[in-house]
């Protein structure tokens, strides 16, 4: 077991030219000198001696951390804790941003970010939009997660790990460094390194006989087949990505691949499909004879002026006899208008209600939105009362029919209110009663 008798120890010239005892034929050069210890206590003095001799590229390798040795070696405290602090703060900020943004901030209005990257206000359980206390667990966990990842990967990076090639790991004796031996190594690239004088210095440290650490002069090229295999493997690995990219972007005649069905496609008959179970071969069943849908009762024999807004087959220019224009009727009309119409047409009838406002904010996919007609357009002003009544009853373009929701009297009340709205936007001072006219002039 004596190191002096080791077959690996040789004279200390730093000439290139390899060692006969190596099985491989490549030329090697001296990478450093190492000296072995069998006891951690001797290391402190040895480390101090090497440090005092002015060496900088040297190290002590031990099977377990020998406390105090880093002081003897003059290793400065590591900046790792500061890096971990930065990592932890990053995690904390990430957590705060993630929670407050995704559950509170919508950036869609001007399409700053793609739809699937935008957050949105997530109202739930009556909590405020930014409920920071409820986010603390997530923020805390992300702080710890980021700190821990920084600690581990920062430590490895600062230690230069993983490094699978190291001349020391080629030394058979050095394998005992993970068992029970301690090694002091001075590298040949240290400016003070000199094969002979360094060896003399190391010999006096109380360890074993210094031993050469050899490294090949030139690194071996990886074999050709390995490079080819690597290129091929990379190309094959790209195929699924290309297929996915094509599937996502191409137009296809067939339905897309639907792996998990989730009851999306069910065995059932849809509206326009044929169904052989019925005599007429249709899946969609016609109404049973005598069925009347809500709002479909039209007594055309009675007062069509009142029920349809028609006089002699043309739109009625006047209100029907059953409708008396007074303040009550206009108030009723305002009430119904604000409930049924203002969502699209707006409280002032200019066609900019909340539904319109939501659809005009540049939200993707709503370019086809048709703005509701303004009540104040000349075309609407020119329409007969009966025409407006008919539009309310039966709808027009994308506007649904309200005949089933609003009583006939209410529809006429809305017509009256619409007229009042139109009047209000085109009124002159002479339309205002005398007593109020003075008030207005005083302003």
């Amino acid at each position: 077991m004596s190191i002096a008798a080791s077959p690996f120890s040789k004279p200390y010239d730093d000439s290139h030219g390899g060692s006969a005892s190596r099985s491989h034929a490549r030329a090697t050069a001296l990478a450093g000198l190492m000296v072995e210890f069998d006891n951690p206590d001797a290391l402190h003095d040895a480390a101090k001696a090497v440090r005092n001799a002015g060496y900088t590229k040297w190290d002590v390798h031990t099977p377990f951390p020998v406390h105090g040795l880093e002081k003897s070696m003059g290793i400065r405290p590591t900046i790792l804790p500061s890096i971990i602090l930065i990592g932890g703060l990053t995690g904390c900020l990430t957590g705060l941003f993630l929670t407050h943004y995704t559950n509170g901030i919508e950036l869609l209005r001007n399409a700053i970010v793609p739809t699937n990257l935008s957050g949105y206000p997530y109202p739930i359980s009556g909590k405020p939009t930014f409920s920071t206390p409820a986010y603390i667990p997530v923020v805390f966990e992300l702080t710890v997660l980021f700190s821990a990842l920084t600690a581990v990967f920062g430590m490895l990076a600062m230690n230069g790990l993983p490094t699978f090639w190291n001349p020391l790991l080629r030394q058979p004796r050095f394998r005992a460094v993970t068992n029970d031996r301690f090694f002091l190594v001075v590298e040949a690239r240290d400016p003070k390194f000199d094969a002979n004088s360094t060896a003399t210095m190391l010999r006096g440290l109380g360890g074993g006989e210094p031993e050469r650490v050899e490294a090949p002069v030139e690194s071996a090229e990886p074999p050709r087949w390995l490079i080819s295999a690597g290129i091929l493997a990379t190309c094959f690995a790209l195929i699924p990505l290309v297929v996915i990219a094509k599937a996502r972007n191409a137009k296809m005649r067939e339905p897309r691949i639907h792996i998990v069905q989730d009851m999306d496609n069910q065995e059932r008959y849809k509206g326009q499909m044929p169904n052989p179970a019925f005599a007429d071969g249709r899946a969609m069943r016609p109404e049973v004879d005598g069925t009347v849908a809500r709002g479909d009762i039209r007594d055309t024999r009675a007062d069509v002026h009142f029920t349809e807004g028609l006089v002699d087959g043309d739109w009625a220019a006047n209100f029907p006899a059953k409708i008396t224009i007074n303040a009550d009727l206009l108030e009723r009309g305002q009430n119904r208008f604000n409930i049924y119409c203002s969502a699209c047409h707006g409280l002032d009838g200019r066609g900019n209600g909340p539904v319109n406002a939501r659809n005009m904010d540049g939200r993707p996919g709503w370019e086809t939105w048709v703005q509701p007609t303004s009540m104040h357009d000349q075309s609407v002003r020119d329409r007969a009362h009966g025409h407006i009544f008919n539009t309310i009853t039966n709808g027009i373009r994308t506007m649904p029919p309200y005949g089933a929701s609003l009583a006939i009297e209410d529809r006429w009340a809305i017509v009256a209110y619409v007229r009042a709205l139109q009047q209000s936007s085109a009124a002159s001072l002479s339309d205002v009663p005398e007593n109020i006219r003075k008030e207005l002039e005083a302003r």
């Binding site: 077991m1 006891n39 031990t62 667990p137 992300l142």
Partner: protein, 481 residues
């Protein structure tokens, strides 16, 4: 390797003038390495290993069958329904994640308190943590019903432009358990690096050398590396300590943040954390006792280590017993009728058998560890550790099932009955756990070799490079620092 002594060496004395050795037998650095590495290097593990592995693998296969059956059929194969929608899956989740707490506690908290005895058991307590969290993570994963949508749990930008609801305790759980698994894995792996390097350097064939060499990352024991390594390890311990307390607190929020009687209490977070440590130490004992017998590690995992763990079981078991009693007191003191009813029905209602199994196993049985003869009696402590595991499973059963099955409205009460698939998955999860654990025992260093060496007495010889054997008689010296 060193011979296994026929007698247990008693190092459990309490004489403060003489520090008890943490490694018994006449060991030096090399023999400690040999002792631990032998577990992985011997050509054949003990027959008992094969027998246990076969059983575990069989159970794991059965678990796979149950999961396949569940996925192809739907969650109707379980006994869950309204109002008990959580059932075995969540009981098992809380049970396993609780067990996972001892590993990090031993690694981190005992490390910060400079409890050097942790070095013998921390490695496999950490491994146990990771495997337990794997089992734990599986259950909510399959409990969501449509497992292929599990990615909805995470804040991943998706085609639906939907985000998770960050105010929900269930979402906090995803982050807590995910972080816990990641940090535990990192902590375990960082601790393993120097020992994997030991295995690399002892490898007898190229394949082993290549695999261990890859995972050792080129570790060469440099003091400059050790310096940063120890710093990182210390900080990881400091990070893991609040983490381990937060994880089971967050798990308890799943219950405490709801309005259900028996769940909506502020005692739940500390009560869950104490229970988690209690069950974790129970499982460490259950694993450590057979492992030290099978692999000849009695000189590293000594009687003193077992004695210390029994003291922690006694302390945490008593805390859990206090929590059980305090829950009852608060239910009465609150004056809330439904709360009172829930607790009375726990003790005397349809689930009384589960309740008393829990109470006796967790609060009463560990009290035997007040006596030193009990703390040093290995068969007895093995039985106690099994009862602790049993009791802690029933604790979660009582919490989940009793509160859900009978809440405020009598019209929505419905009893819970588990199906064979529920039981199959519970048993199968033990198969998963033990399969992973037995593979770990066979292929990785089950004791932190480098750390044990650091707490061993230094060799006597101020050697001059003439490697004769060291350390004889050193074991009775005081521990080095």
């Amino acid at each position: 390797m060193a011979t296994i002594p026929l007698m247990e060496v008693d190092n459990t004395w309490d004489d403060p003038r003489k520090r008890a050795p943490l490694v018994t037998g006449n060991h030096d650095y090399k023999s400690v390495t040999d002792l631990v590495a032998d577990v992985a290097e011997r050509p054949h593990p003990p027959m008992a290993w094969y027998a246990l592995f076969a059983v575990s693998l069989g159970l794991l296969g059965f678990l796979g069958f149950c999961i396949g059956y569940l996925l192809l059929t739907g969650v109707g194969v379980w006994g869950v329904n309204q109002p008990v929608a959580w059932g075995f899956a969540i009981i098992n989740f809380v049970f396993w994640v609780g067990i996972g707490h001892a590993g990090t506690l031993i690694s981190a908290i005992l490390f910060l308190f400079r409890q050097n005895w942790r070095t013998a058991i921390n490695r496999f307590a950490e491994a146990m943590t990771i495997f337990a969290v794997v089992c734990a993570g599986m259950f909510p994963g399959i409990h969501i019903g449509r497992v292929w949508l599990a990615y909805w749990l995470f804040p991943i930008p998706n085609q639906m432009a939907m985000w998770p609801q960050f105010r929900s305790p269930l979402l906090w759980d995803v982050f807590a358990v995910g972080t816990y698994f990641t940090v535990s894995l990192l902590f375990w792996y960082v601790g393993l690096i120097p020992d994997i390097a030991t295995f690399r350097d002892r490898a007898t064939n190229k394949i082993k050398q290549g695999i261990y060499g890859f995972f050792a990352l080129g570790w060469n024991g440099s003091t400059r590396h050790w310096h940063r390594y120890e710093r990182a390890y210390l900080i990881l311990a400091a990070l893991s300590t609040p983490l381990v307390l937060s994880v089971h607190s967050v798990v308890s929020f799943d219950f405490a943040v709801s309005q259900l009687p028996g769940w909506h209490t502020t005692i739940l977070p500390p009560y869950f954390v104490a229970g988690a440590i209690f069950s974790g130490f129970g499982m460490v004992l259950t694993l450590a006792i057979p492992a030290r017998e099978l692999f000849g590690l009695k000189e590293i995992i000594t009687l003193r280590h077992l004695d210390n763990m029994n003291k922690i079981i006694l302390a945490t078991g008593t805390m859990v017993g206090y929590a059980y009693s305090m829950e009852f007191f608060i239910a009465w003191y609150s004056g809330v009728e439904v709360e009172r009813f829930t607790f009375i029905s726990r003790a005397m209602g349809p689930y009384a058998a589960a309740y008393w199994t829990m109470f006796i196993c967790n609060a009463f049985v560990p009290q035997i560890f007040w006596f030193k003869w009990a703390r040093t009696n290995i068969p007895l402590m093995f039985v106690v550790s099994l009862l602790v595991n049993l009791g802690m499973w029933f604790e979660r059963y009582v919490i989940v099932v009793t509160s859900l099955s009978s809440d405020f409205l009598m019209s929505s009460w419905w009893p819970y009955r588990a199906t064979w698939v529920d039981y199959g998955m519970l048993i199968g999860s033990f198969g998963l756990f033990f399969t992973l654990f037995l593979l770990f025992c066979r292929f990785l260093p089950i004791v932190a070799i480098a750390e044990v060496k650091a707490v061993m007495p230094r060799p006597h010889s101020l050697g001059h490079g003439h490697g004769h054997s060291h350390g004889h008689g050193a074991a009775h010296r005081a521990e080095a620092h």
